[in-house]
Symmetry: D2
Subunit: 345 residues, 4 copies
């Protein structure tokens, strides 16, 4: 019997992408979906690409909770804690696509998101779902905080260098570029087609909420209190994040040493592809997948390390990673449902 | 044991898409590929999205012929006949993505393509692979001419109206708009990014080679010698064809009658989705799939019928249909390998 | 002393484009602007491209009326009649970018727009501002209805053929494709970047409000009651309309005759460029200008005439034509302010 | 009498943009153009947007030399030196769009470009044409090296901070993103529409030829030997460069101090617009212009300075700056021909 999956907030981009992956998952099935904006409407009316694949109709959060063994919640931050508690009580697994369970420090949550931790015991149970860096903690867990998109791409690009002391722990810069689906499905002036088309800019310069989450991950892995400068930019494409990350090479460190460290870390990972020397990660090559491509460069003229990673912000940066976490939680093959061959163009 | 599939011309867009679909096919496997331009290179070097999915290296046409039970050829017109003959002799199935076996009349082939039929007996064996219109003829056949992209979208939009005498057989107009992958992977001035971006125009107005192929299909189905005006346009998007087709309503014909005729024709077809009244086909909703969405309208003010169909020019318009034909040829489920849930955005 | 120009609704796309053209006009100056949504904000805050060129702040409609000799109104239909009356009383020239004064028949206005003509005498004074077809009527007039975008592109493509009886007056089809700025600056779901990007569809099939306006123009010119089928499509580009128009050739009519008729009509027009045989109009070549490119084809196989025109929907389809009308109204050179050399790419 | 301007390489993007600006220049006229690939063809055939504005036909380099008072050369590097010498002998002004005269050190030229300086006396006469940083040297000069696109955007973003010792002279990073016209008009695989569309990647990571040119400019201004890490990326848009530049703040330096330094440097510059606090430069707002928008940020958490500049790579990054240099050379108003109000969308 298949695992019954429910998606709260199914008509947003992340929610819809989870639905797609679950529809193709060999051990799970989409049991129920909900949406505040589209209650009573079929998912295939909102996304006609799903015609002939899905005839579920959007119900309420409670209906999802009732019909599912595992609930994925794609909700604005602040709204997940109550639902997580209900799932916990009802013995259902819960995965939060939002930020409510990502930060261990309530202080940082308060500072960057402006909210409170309403149930501290529940937060203790949550695990941070970045499998390639924290796989063992995730296995079997039933309350999972799915990382943000930037906070997947940047730590995967930098972790092996920092863990192995190959770059300095200060002066790190993450210059990131994201496709526009990351900003959600709700129409806004800045994502109105004529405004975004043929445009490019940065936003929330050195002040984006994903900053403390990246720092938490990298600090844990390196054993040092990492602070970095994070500048996101908005790309006029639908999907993808390219993270161009800069660090200062420790004296004497060579590109060969770096490649060995990355290879040791990721050589057996299916979803992280370390590119050969001279090749550069491109968002196009990871579209619609759960892959993270990582490419490495050094600038000996200035002693600078450059790691460039690419993910699909809706795949490894959201729904793909969520399914990967579900697989770890329930003991399925880690790649189950994530092996769809992507289009090449 | 799986059917061994070979692809000649695997690094072009249609060839690469066939590879993608075969990689995900339950009863077939990609056995060999060839490419004149990229011989010796791995397919995943040409299309890095295939990294981790395919490690085949491009070989020669002869290698493909030797290793495969069925050969798909994505070649410029004029080059398929010789290969088809070799397959025929060797007892291999052959599917031609090009135009060499599509036209029954050698005269029309000569007029529009400028070539000869080198082996008339072979042409007699060929079947035209548009399953929804000619399914029974395709079953079990080993020499299949895969239709062109426009020539799939237009006949599917018009067939039920013409077959049932609901529109006149003259005065038909097919105003079509195609994504740019239809023009191939070879860089050209007109498809250079800065030139095509923010542009839109028509090309080969009333003189495109797909014209006689559409007419052949519609004439066969209607029993009348159909001539139509076909004007293709080039869209600044990667995939998709929208065919806006116009015909003159026979006196007294209502939209209801038209819907009933289309429903009778396509109601049980998985890959043709007749849209409800008021909805319009959109190329986005069929991207990366083998579907053809069909929407119907009438203009009672002028007595005009408007049928709008949408396909992915690389899916139902090329590789998807090719795999559907393979399924019919070998007795697999017709949908095998074609059920990947597409991305919604 | 320069003519003082005011723009009501200056922060919409059409309004902003009028401002741009007036800023570069040798005999007019931008005296005042208004906006309901952005009152109190500088135009260059809404459109930062205008920084260093314009420091006007959005005021009220009344302020515009007071400070201007001529008022351009870019308002939703139904709202222009009152303002036009005020201008008439105050002796100011008025140009309406909307539909309130375009249709001579109040019945058609009621049928397609659902409103009433509140001041019939005022409607008698209005002139329809399509200079290449109705130049003499426009000269010196102070109440001008600026045509819609589709209703400029389609009549310019078809007028000479119909006027000269070279095509039949029935069975005309206008298959049009428009850039997205035509839908305005207000964010909507269908024009949200991720939804429109890589999409293409038709809308308001055979039911768009511009239909009676095209018919009015073509009926006037041909002396027959023209009805046509109009199907608009939405292109994922910012600017431009391509109108592919089809008619039935009268017996014996040749492409040469058609070219002569078009040349006689447009040979001396600066803003209509009749393209040489074999070339096709492209929206890219008219971007940011007041040009209309017209290309002609015949399909002798089916007796069909194909005229393809291209305009910038915000130029010749809105603001450019508005300025051309102002020039005619005030006796300026017809090309004044409209000679900016456009970018080639 | 107007200055007679000739353009060698007029059919490339930079050449065509120079033509556009000269066509609109009050004191200069386009006298002759040449193109190796399109000799004998009218410029308006290559770029139909210029129909009705320009009827010049592409001739030879020698014809351009003969007919012009000033020659602009848009040639591959290595080919300008001979032409520059001819102009020098003939007493014609010469502006090089390429790299042959940009680097003062022949050693660096040899290292990064692989060529020699064939006439050292001629190189002594050349001046580097970045007016906002080296205006006085440019005035009246007749041999001008026009800067590259990245090498305009990055120094303008960083100069005031480095000149005033507000950031450290080491550890500087320039993460740049360029529209695709920067790669030229010749079709390539990577700029083929279907490949570039929906893609994003970096290229020539820490190894791009513009690196020593940036360093030369910043070293001159700061008095220190600046080395920086430069990583360019390719954007799927036509025009624009966004340069996100990072430096380490000197102890105690505040954003206020930085703003004052930038304001002192650029307050009177027409073409550099220092944006108010909180606003971020966007390539869209400088399209088709000679402006450079500069926005400033600090990250007090990490002691990092972030300066983000935006230019049109074909405007301030190529043709616009070339015309600005011509104006300085011949004593015209510096803004002459560069005041076209750009489209807002």
């Amino acid at each position: 019997m298949k695992l019954k999956v429910g998606v709260v907030g199914a008509t947003g981009y992340a929610g819809a992408e989870i639905c797609r992956l679950i529809m193709g998952h060999p051990q799970a099935e989409l049991a129920a979906i909900s949406s505040v904006s589209f209650e009573g409407m079929a998912l295939s009316q909102v996304y006609p690409a799903y015609r002939a694949f899905c005839d579920l109709v959007c119900g309420t959060e409670d209906e999802v909770l009732e019909k599912s063994d595992m609930v994925f919640a794609a909700l604005p931050h602040g709204l997940s804690q109550e639902l997580a508690a209900k799932c916990d009580t009802a013995g259902k697994a819960f995965l939060d696509m939002g930020a409510d369970f990502r930060l261990e420090s309530e202080g940082e949550y308060r500072e960057w998101y402006g909210g409170e931790y309403t149930d501290k015991a529940l937060h203790e149970k949550a695990v941070y779902g970045l499998p390639e860096l924290f796989r063992e903690q995730i296995k079997g867990k039933k309350l999972i905080a799915n990382p943000g998109c930037y906070t997947t791409a940047v730590p995967l690009a930098l972790a092996p260098a920092l863990e192995n002391g190959l770059i300095e722990s200060t002066g790190i810069i993450a210059d990131c570029k994201s496709g526009v689906t990351g900003a959600g499905r709700k129409p806004t002036q800045s994502n109105h087609y004529p405004e975004l088309n043929e445009s490019f800019t940065a936003y929330k310069v050195a002040s984006h909420r994903h900053t403390p989450e990246m720092e938490q991950t990298l600090s844990k892995l390196s054993g040092e209190a990492i602070k970095l400068t994070f500048v996101p930019h908005l790309l006029p494409i639908n999907r993808g994040i390219l993270a161009t990350c800069y660090g200062k090479l420790m004296p004497g460190v060579t590109e060969k040493q770096l490649r060995e460290a990355y290879d040791a870390r990721y050589g057996k990972e299916f979803f992280v592809r370390l590119l050969p020397q001279g090749e550069t990660a491109n968002v196009k090559h990871v579209r619609f997948t759960n892959f993270c491509d990582v490419s490495l460069f050094t600038d000996p003229r200035t002693g600078t390390f450059v790691a460039i990673s690419a993910i699909d912000n809706m795949g490894k940066g959201a729904a793909g990673q969520a399914v990967q976490n579900m697989n770890l939680s329930f003991g399925f093959e880690e790649t189950a449902g994530l092996l769809l061959v992507p289009p090449a163009f």
